[in-house]
Symmetry: C2
Subunit: 199 residues, 2 copies
Amino acid sequence: MTDSTSLRILDTAERLFADQGFHATTLRQITREAGVNLAAVNYHLGSKDALILAVFRRRMDTLSSERLTLLKQALSESDPPQLERVLEAFIHPALRMSARSSGDGGRFMRLLMRAWAENATQLHGVISRQYSHVMRTFADAVRRSLKTVPSDLRQQLDFLIGALTYAMAETDDDSMQQTAASLVGFACAGLRQSASIAA
Amino acid sequence: MTDSTSLRILDTAERLFADQGFHATTLRQITREAGVNLAAVNYHLGSKDALILAVFRRRMDTLSSERLTLLKQALSESDPPQLERVLEAFIHPALRMSARSSGDGGRFMRLLMRAWAENATQLHGVISRQYSHVMRTFADAVRRSLKTVPSDLRQQLDFLIGALTYAMAETDDDSMQQTAASLVGFACAGLRQSASIAA
DNA sequence: CTATAATTAAAACATGTGTTTGAAACTGTT
DNA sequence: AACAGTTTCAAACACATGTTTTAATTATAG
């Protein structure tokens, strides 16, 4: 799994999936650009669907753990936690990751977007089942950081995810810091407004 | 173009595209479920790519005109326009349309999301070129409704679009009114916060 | 070194794709 | 009724896809 053939396949597949979509990207294109044999995908990963899942989980796992680490920091700094810090813990790792995953920005975010849109191999269900605890943890933190709790908190967080995903997909590496700061402010104001109504 | 064969093709294709994506949906599936012959798509529409464009423009044109009509109303009611009214003019037609396009909710919104994600036949470029004046008009209206103008207004509107698209795709018909109201409040607060910083 | 397993390679396989074709069925007009 | 123009239909076409197979190659122990 960690040999150079699998790695080259995963890296190349990630790039092509993000650029062209899961369905539109062929195994022949992946293996050709990765410099490996066509049969290597089925040999090392099993199938194309399994490759999609593997590409996805590799980054999703580190994204989740980075988010939770930052969140723990924010929680230890003040009680109740500060809303800005909580949202930053959610947004910044996504930023850094898409900037870091080499080449032009937003690759992984575009991948997330596609995962939701194409729903290859019921990815959406698999993901939300597998990472629901992360979302629950963040929802709890947001709830505690607001004096009054909005009645539709989960929906508000969906707004945040949508804005994050969509905006990141259009943002290049240079303007990412600015975009993140802007989005944190945007979402904080939205959440606080909703909380004030619920009061 | 308005005969029942083309209509059945467009309706069925819209549903399947929204559910499965452009690439994953085959002409055989479309024509079978529409009850027409396989060759009918190429005969009436020309090609699969042309079908995708046709499916898209049919709803996009009415969406744009409904948005602009509501915006004109909002502009005539008060000068400068009220931000809530401007955002409602942008959000509500999208809501009504996805609720109206028959069956379970969010179909057209999911289609929009896919159009962006899959980018079949460079749809993204075609769309933003063809409907850029709508976005410009709304950006102007928002600008006038804020006392101070945020420096990154266009980005803020992208947040709105992302939140709208993502949230709508997950919302069923019943909770749409509530979702819309919630999103208007969310986005208004976000925009006003950004504007206050720019002051 | 040798045998045993793991990996790579080229080719073929089965299937599904968008599109085209040419004849049949239908439509409206004179 | 007979013709012209549309539209439908079944079949075939050319090609691309994911996967499997079988042999060659390389690595790994004994």
